[in-house]
């Protein structure tokens, strides 16, 4: 039986996923809600596969946790279970993902059997989903959605305000959010970000 460690900070999702995996006859050895708990449980149980949430709050991301676990046990299977349609939307520096890992977007999960398939096939690796944005567009979009002004974004990214404006325009084009009457483009972009990050339904 494949032993699995579930790392997820939302208690409802954690409980649901755990019971679903048990239903599919996986040995869920432990579940953890933070990076500290995750590493501790991992060292204790050394599971075959870890099901990891990408966003664990402040500090290291799920990707960092996975890297840390691989340093302890290189053959461990990694399945990311996240609401982000692209890891760069959480942290634009997450361009290099660990090798041999599966990436499952919660919103696209229709059946728990799909999760089971991801666990079984995680060693073969899988496609990391990418939205149609460059890393700098993703970063600008994230900062914009966090409520920063163009000046603040320019300061943080050490570029000119005009460059930020240009990036925002390009981002809108890439996301096909051209000018629509009665819609503020900035609001539309933020909404789209939150949709891609799985925080809401966003625009209809």
């Amino acid at each position: 039986m494949t032993s699995v460690l579930v790392v997820e900070d939302e208690s409802f999702v954690r409980a649901t996923v755990t019971s679903a995996l048990r239903f599919h006859e996986y040995d869920v050895v432990a579940s953890a809600s933070s990076s500290a708990e995750a590493i501790e449980a991992f060292r204790l149980h050394l599971p075959d596969v870890v099901l990891l949430d990408l966003d664990l709050g402040a500090g290291p991301t799920g990707v960092d946790i996975a890297l840390g676990m691989r340093r302890v046990r290189p053959e461990v299977g990694i399945v990311f279970l996240t609401s982000f349609e692209d890891p760069r939307l959480l942290d634009s520096r997450l361009t290099n993902m660990p090798e041999r890992c599966a990436y499952v977007v919660k919103q696209s999960l229709e059946d728990t059997a799909f999760l089971a398939a991801a666990i079984d096939g995680c060693d073969e690796g899988g496609q990391i989903p990418r939205v149609n944005l460059t890393a700098s567009q993703a970063e600008t979009l994230r900062l914009l959605a966090a409520g920063l002004s163009n000046e603040e974004i320019a300061r943080l990214r050490v570029v000119k305000v005009s460059a930020v404006e240009k990036t925002i325009r390009r981002t809108a084009e890439a996301l096909r959010l051209g000018k629509v009457e009665h819609t503020n483009q900035r609001v539309a972009l933020a909404r789209e970000y939150y949709r891609m990050a799985g925080f809401g339904r966003g625009t209809s």
Binding site: P60, G68, R93, R155, R157, V158
Partner: protein, 565 residues
Amino acid sequence: MELRNLAPRLPRAILGLTWREHIGGRWAVSLVGFFVVTPVALLAAFTDVRVANAQQALQWAAISSASLAVMGGVWLLAAVTVLRNRNERPVPIWLVVLLGVTSGAARSATVVVLANQVGTLDSSGQLWPLLATRMATGAIQLGVGMPFLAVALSVLNRYRSERSRLLEQQAELVRRQSEELGASRALRDALADPVLRRLRELADRLAENSSTVPDIARDVRGQAHELWATSVASGGGIQVRFRQVLTASLGYQPLPIAAAFLFWLPSAFLSLIGRESIQAGVISSIAGTVVLVTVFMLGNRITHLRPNLGPLIFILGNLIGGSLAVMTALWFAGDRDLATEVPLILTSAVRLTSITLAVSLVEGAVRQSELVILRLQEGIDSREVELRSQVQQRAQLAKEVASVLHGVVQGRLAVAQRSSEDSAALARQALNEGIELLSASSVTTAVTAAQLAREVSEPWLPLIEVDIRADDGIIPAERVRDVGDVLEECLSNAFRHGAASRVDVELRQQEQGWLLIASDDGSGLGEVTRTGLGTSLFDAISGNDWSRKDLPGGGCQVTVQLSTD
């Protein structure tokens, strides 16, 4: 005597302001007057000697000693009677002038009368005019010299007490600051948490039907009012009365002192040379003063150009200036045979040097104290600014919590109270909304560097060992986020790209802000030269003032300057 041993320690003793133990209190004037003026007076006494033979020299020595004893007797009498009766009250300046005038006149009178008795008075003229002249010059010398010393010493004493007052104030500020910091960091405990707990309690009571909606509304109103009061009342700061103290204590002005000194000098010349003719004395003292001032100004100029020669030029200038001044004075007094006056010239020069040395030491001590106090004051000012901003943040949070209570919860409760049906459900909704808003309320507060470093690195500890060394200082609220971001970036870089297992974080407080040094044991920079999002974050936050390098034993070190101006 031990003067040579004392000399190196003397300036430090003055600059360290430890004189009060020896000369403080009401004895200061008399004792210091005695110890500073006595060698001077002694020298002056011997300049009176026209040594013809050993017997004459002995006579003059006896006369000088007797005159000094009379002067000391006047001081002792004054100290025992007048000054002592004033208890701890400060001695007024007129009393010091009076003491100087009396003792100076008494000393000169003793010299003239005794010299007249033994017949060694270097005068063929009448006794009474000479006695009057010498008493007047003696009175002027000490009448001006003693108050000057007294003023300088009292300024030093004031500085000393002001310094200890400022040190106490600083300690108090540090204490209050750490208290405020504790309060800021425990904002949830101090302000938001009790309110949150109370709201949850009220919600429970409502659910159990053990409390009515109007009761709950009253409760919330009370809490909101209390918080408003907190947010308004906590704006005060500490008033520093430093400037008033400084103005009050500083009768010290270099110009009046210089003027007093110059005024005193002619009278000194008068006593030196003008023993036969007042007219010759006045002319010679003016000429001598002009020469002396010229030499001083020249010395000043040289010192300005070659500062490290300062002390040497000072002493040489005094000796040369003093000799030249006395020679000039003698010349104008009609004594053209300078070769016979060498002992007089030399002793006068030494006398002058000792006086100016004493004056400049006192002045240096005053200036040094001034600097110490100004630095203390600056430190206190900057701490006060920090403290004020902390107090303001707390007030801001109190206001924020109060406005949630007042604007949201209380408003909704009022609606719930008026609603005939579903009153309890509406009230519950109001309370829940308050709980939600308060849970999310976030005000960034100032934090100690060590605390911030611990908070940022804490989630990384399972992955990477972090060793923190931070100076005891505070990172102001508006920079907390930036410093936190930079540190986070350092940690994640070390872990992700360097595969490090340990990072040493050092936060050094500097004049303009903080220096962050993160050294890891990872794979080093290697080929990593590309600029990424992390480097642009360093650029943005440090204003391009950062660097990174490979460490000799492996790993890499990132140094980021974080200004807080």
